[in-house]
Amino acid sequence: MMKTNLYKLICTGILIGFTACERPLSDDVEFATYASNGDVFLDGFTAGLNYFPFEGSKLDAFTVDSEVSYDGEASMRIDVPNFGDPGGAYAGAVFPTNSPRDLSGYDALTFWAKATKAATINEIGFGNNFGENKFLVTKTNLRISTNWVKYIIPIPDPSKLIAESGLFWYSEGPEDGDGYTFWVDEVQFEKLGTVAQPRPSILNGEDVEQTTFTDITIPVTGLTQTFNLANGVNQTVNAAPGYFTFETSNPGVALVNEQGVVTTLNEGTAVITALVGGVRAAGSLTLNVGGAFELAPTPTRPAANVISVYSDAYTNVNVDFYNGFFEPFQTTLGGDDLNINGNSIISYTDFNFVGIQFGRVNASAMTGLHIDLYIPEGINLNASSFIDIELQDYGSDAVTGGGDDTVSRIKITADRLQTGQWVTLDIPLSDFTALTTRTNLGLILFQGSAEINELLVDNIYFYTE
């Protein structure tokens, strides 16, 4: 597949000939291959190597240092900025080549590194080319010391790297607010011969079971590859989906594409598993797919009578965040991340309370607040179950605080709540009795009783009849 694409790119004319005649490729055809040079930075940039810092990073954090090197004339020097550095918040860059390299004959990226103090590099690896990053590899939290030490970043499956242009990348921020300097030298792909005992995993090796609905897409996350190195250390890297071959046990129920994204199709059970280089990955995703998820009723009020915060039916005001974090008691995870057949839904898990901040809304002409809530089946509501809804007006300064904010909270009691179906609320704004003004509404907050730990929300809008 890859080879054919490669071939297409390089020998377009020939390929057109073949496709026109619909003849298969001759056995004598030799596919074009790229240079197998494994050098990245020895005493300077190898031929065709570029430096592209990340947006928001300190652009001049990287220099070639001819004063310090592990071996030879120069090393790569990275000056991690202090917290608050106006030049950029962190040091991060990719080093792609102009033309791809065939790295399939190597088993690891290796380099020597040292730092001005013991530190932990957030992310370092290869496969980042500012493009698809199809074969991205990231070693997270790499500990480095003040001595030159050789580090080994294994290639999850070298046979995939027949045309890789992302030779090296890193991203590192201040340590406890302080910047520092680290040097990297002799960066190269090597065939060590001692990178062995592959143990890939998906979902971080866990066997996860999930109840879901049809027409939902779910990415398979937690993709890693672990090798045992010559020094006995098990080295684990995060590996892009491109290294994995995903499988479904039941393609009638759920499909999984080469990016590791699962799409549920029909009711039933399907188990998603994967392999890397023929080695079965630890971990699996068992999906118990129920019927179609019933979407919230599509709003019917005319758009002219509505100021919408969140709905597929209207143009929405700007939302600053769907899950503002209020320390230290908030546990809620999730946000605007559920998409069912093109319909966006806010999904909260580990829910206790959560706030959505949106562009200041003048709802003085509005009379009601519409919200659709969905509490999943399996949550046992009781007589004292509730969901509180709070509105906050930021006052004339339009920002939180400042002494002119007003807040009002109403309680949706158990008799109005249901599980396994949408609860549609049309709440008169006059019920928010403490809200003396609603010209600068900026926050809506949900808080639930303890048993309500999952919540879906849709169609949040103000309206007038």
Binding site: L192, G193, T194, A196, Q197, N228, A230, N231, G232, V233
Partner: protein
């Protein structure tokens, strides 16, 4: 079984009738003595190719069971069994498998096979083709222990470790002798490190050539050490019968304990064990 105490004639090194060319070169390079001699070991006197699925050949192998004293003298953590979970022959290989499980008060199980009372021999070429396991605290070995001599105990009886290996050093094996005045931490030992390869990803041949006054240690086609009476600070005790041991220990003073990174189960695969004696043929 053959005559165990047969004298093996010593031969001058000249041309390469030797099975191992490297032996010739190593001697030529390292030893200036014109009189340096080596035996040719070509008479196969013991061979187990593990061709019969099931339990290992009972005419050759016994088992040590349990934990011995103080974990076989080394604070090893495993309980040795002869269960098929720990030792079996499958598809032409002997499998010795170390498992992490609670068994008879131990946290691990494994197996230790020995030829004691079934095959005991003096001198010869001993070799086995083995794929080793890996991981912190994993300690496989292929070794010889001196047969019981009334009134004598280890290390007087002698021990020849043809291959020992620490699972946390997957590129390194050790060849060692233990005797009176040079045992345990004072043993005479040498490391052999593979370059660009490791012992847990493929099969390798581990062997010795053992004559009256020398023991040659080799891995595959590389002779990496010779130990003679001049190399040991005590009595040379390698001139009586020894028996063969194959085992896979877990933990103990030589390797340290397994940790959270150690993957279980771990299996040592043995393709064959062979012993040759000198055929008496001179090789001038």
């Amino acid at each position: 079984m053959k005559d165990k105490k047969r004298f093996i004639p010593m031969l001058r090194v000249a041309k390469s009738k030797l099975a191992l060319l490297a032996v010739v070169f190593a001697f030529a390079a390292c030893d200036t003595s014109e009189e340096q001699t080596v035996a040719v070991f070509e008479d196969l006197i013991l061979e187990d190719n593990f061709d019969q699925d099931g339990a290992p050949d009972a005419s050759i192998w016994n088992y040590d069971i349990g934990t011995g004293q103080n974990g076989w003298g080394n604070n090893e953590l495993q309980y040795y069994t002869s269960r098929s979970e720990n030792v079996s022959v499958q598809n032409g290989y002997l499998l010795i498998t170390a498992r992490k499980e609670n068994f008879q008060g131990s946290g691990y199980t494994s197996a230790r096979l020995l030829t004691k009372g079934k095959f005991e021999n003096t001198y010869g070429r001993y070799e086995a083709r083995i794929k080793l396991p890996y991981g912190q605290g994993i300690w496989p070995a292929f070794w010889l222990l001196g047969s019981d001599i009334p009134g004598e105990i280890w290390p007087q009886i002698g021990e020849i470790d043809i291959m020992e290996y620490r699972g946390q050093e997957p590129t390194v094996v050790l060849g060692t002798v233990h005797g009176p005045g040079y045992s345990a931490g004072q043993s005479i030992s040498k490391r052999y490190e593979l370059q660009g390869d490791r012992f847990d990803t493929g099969f390798h041949i581990f062997g010795i050539e053992w004559g009256p006054e020398y023991i040659n240690f080799y891995v595959d086609d590389v002779l990496y050490n010779q130990i003679t009476p001049d190399d040991v600070p005590g009595e040379w005790v390698f001139n009586h019968d020894f028996y063969i041991i194959l085992n896979l220990a877990v933990g103990g003073s030589f390797v340290g304990s397994p940790n959270a990174e150690t993957v279980f189960p771990q299996t040592m695969l043995v393709d064959y064990v062979r012993v040759y004696e000198s055929n008496g043929q001179r090789n001038f």
